[in-house]
Symmetry: C2
Subunit: 373 residues, 2 copies
């Protein structure tokens, strides 16, 4: 998507130096547009762990490029040493964020591709490079298709409302900044807006890290999509008063039975949508589907992050990026980063292959190759 | 309750100068403890509108003292001029906050008391002074009784958990800072803590004004009650995982049918409590009961406040009270201050007369004098 009128992805290889991965350092958005160079696995791991990059798809793509960097720097004198270094770097990358399934998925895909490239080290490095690019390209293409499928939901509401604005609520940032391009929850919005459909987005600010207020608002604004930032507390009231036509969120991990792990607070919006008959859809590439787990609430590990993310918040003061203390200095805080929305509250899943019900039967109908014998 | 070991109410007449009302200016908490003098109705109205004071009971008590200040400064040469000035000041005070029913209730009670004091202006002023004190004293006493009644709920859970901590979630600040003393939602917590019952409070930070993170955390900390600050998004996850035993919130207006207007986001917590079989109680003095309205969601007016409260947030940076911009500068924001929780989601109401079901029958059983013929 565009930044100041120029097209960007969220991650790419540096022009003229393919040993350097470049990312948009999202910690400084919306106030500063900063590009960061990543040249080692440690830098890639830090970028994921400290959330210079974040979002299901982008974490996966970054891990993919991270494994390419790992291959590039692994010892070449001996196949065992090369493999051992790669395995160690794979563990390092996988340990950065426990909830996002794409991370593990991308790392495992790279290990398999590098293994399959045969015994020549150069061939292995080339395979890692190609796989990193393929992971990124697929991510963008899958998001584009999610947009096309989700568009049908918005078109239907727009027809029913006779062209009045379709009000869509979203939580966190499942926008293009969370992927390589287009986004998931935002992809149908961009597709609708680009076709001249009247849409308006309620943007949950998404405490404690404010990905909605900082990132979703910024990317919608850059693309010219009408939007309004709201506190996370507001969505229920809006739904009670028919001011939300559709909720679309992303997902960090969805069980094949339809339980959705997403940014903390998603479950509360799903409850409100259910209570007010507002359709609640989750947009996700199939790489975020967990084909093993059946009970998301019980089984999906939920990351706990540092209390300082709750007690302090950063913003712009006199042109400077400034962090302020919100609570009494000695009050403890807890920081659960995700919650799980049970499938019974989810109207449907929007995937790269189409829309399905949030049930094992619905998911397996779209992905029949995953059916167990 | 105590501040730095000294007992305070939230509002009082200045010692040696009963023409001056003093308040704790809550805008500076938890970082600074500031006492403000109010000497005119305009200053009182500003203190309410700009939320130097806030919370259902304290707004009512402040309006009560405001009407005393109005009587003190009204023209004394002529009964009609005195009444006209009082009426104008009453309108000014009532216009400051539309949702809190205590405001109108306190102003009307003052007008009636002043009217009933006869034709002598000095007697009217004395009546206004006494009524202001009575409103404040009743508020404190009713909160104390709410604490005693609510204590029974906590004791029962504590027995069931064999002394393990009773985890209570609260939203916003319905603490003593929102009243004259004790608070409503916090009164049972203080009563339990003071009796040695093991309690722990999950404090919703309560965006956009962070009354939980700033005020509830501060007053619990001053009283030594174990507590943890959480983003508003977290409560649903905690309830899914049996980490909340009881929710207690306050109310800005409750219909006699049991619908509860309270700080925006309360409805979302009530939905989560209902979905997870967690008891959800609302603590309120009967002055916040609306005896006219039947359908809170449709009828209770919801205040919209300025978008800057969403876009900017204040905190402490390098020892200075600093405001930072959270969103893109040109993104619009909406700021609905309250929502309404339907009675069907409320386990019960804790009032100064006892606990009742959130139904017209339940409420009227405790307040039989309100029964219509």
């Amino acid at each position: 998507m565009n930044v100041h009128g120029q097209h960007y992805r969220t991650i790419w290889l540096k022009k003229d130096n393919p040993g350097v991965v470049q990312i948009i350092d999202q910690r400084y958005l919306p106030h500063k547009f900063v590009i960061e160079d990543l040249t080692s696995v440690d830098e890639v791991a830090t970028a994921i762990f400290e959330m210079h990059v974040r979002g299901a798809g982008l974490i996966g793509a970054t891990a993919g490029y991270g494994m390419y960097i790992a291959a590039l720097h692994a010892p070449r004198h001996n196949a065992d040493a090369f493999s051992a270094a790669l395995e160690a770097d794979a563990e390092k990358l996988k340990a950065t964020r426990p909830t996002a399934i794409n991370l593990e998925w991308a790392v495992q895909r790279q290990l398999a591709a590098i293994e399959a490239a045969g015994s020549d080290i150069e061939a292995k490095i080339e395979a890692a490079l190609q796989t990193a690019q393929i992971i990124a390209d697929e991510d963008a293409e899958f998001c584009r298709r999610i947009g096309e499928h989700g568009l049908s939901l918005i078109e239907e509401i727009s027809r029913r409302k006779q062209g009045e604005p379709v009000n869509i609520l979203t939580h966190c940032n499942a926008g293009w900044l969370a992927f390589v391009d287009y986004g998931t929850a935002t992809a149908p919005v961009y597709a609708a807006h680009d076709r001249g459909i009247n849409v308006h987005v309620w943007v949950d600010e998404t405490r404690p890290r404010n990905q909605g207020a900082r990132l979703t608002a910024w990317e919608l604004g850059q693309h010219g999509v009408p939007h309004t930032v709201i506190a996370d507390n507001v969505g229920g009231h809006l739904m009670q008063h028919q001011m939300v036509d559709l909720v679309i969120t992303g997902s960090d991990r969805t069980t094949y039975t339809g339980d959705v792990a997403n940014k903390i607070g998603t479950y509360l919006k799903a409850l409100a949508a259910y209570d007010n008959d507002v359709p609640f859809y989750v947009a996700l590439p199939s790489s975020t589907i967990d084909w093993q787990m059946q009970d998301g609430v019980k089984e999906i590990p939920i990351e706990q992050r540092d209390a300082t993310e709750v007690k302090y918040i950063a913003g712009l003061s006199d042109g400077e990026h400034t962090s302020v203390l919100l609570t009494p200095a000695d009050s403890p805080a807890a920081n659960y980063a995700f919650d799980v929305t049970p499938a019974r509250l989810v109207s449907g899943l929007i995937t790269e292959r189409g829309i399905c019900r949030a049930t094992a039967a619905g998911v397996l109908e779209l992905f029949p190759e995953k059916k167990l014998d």
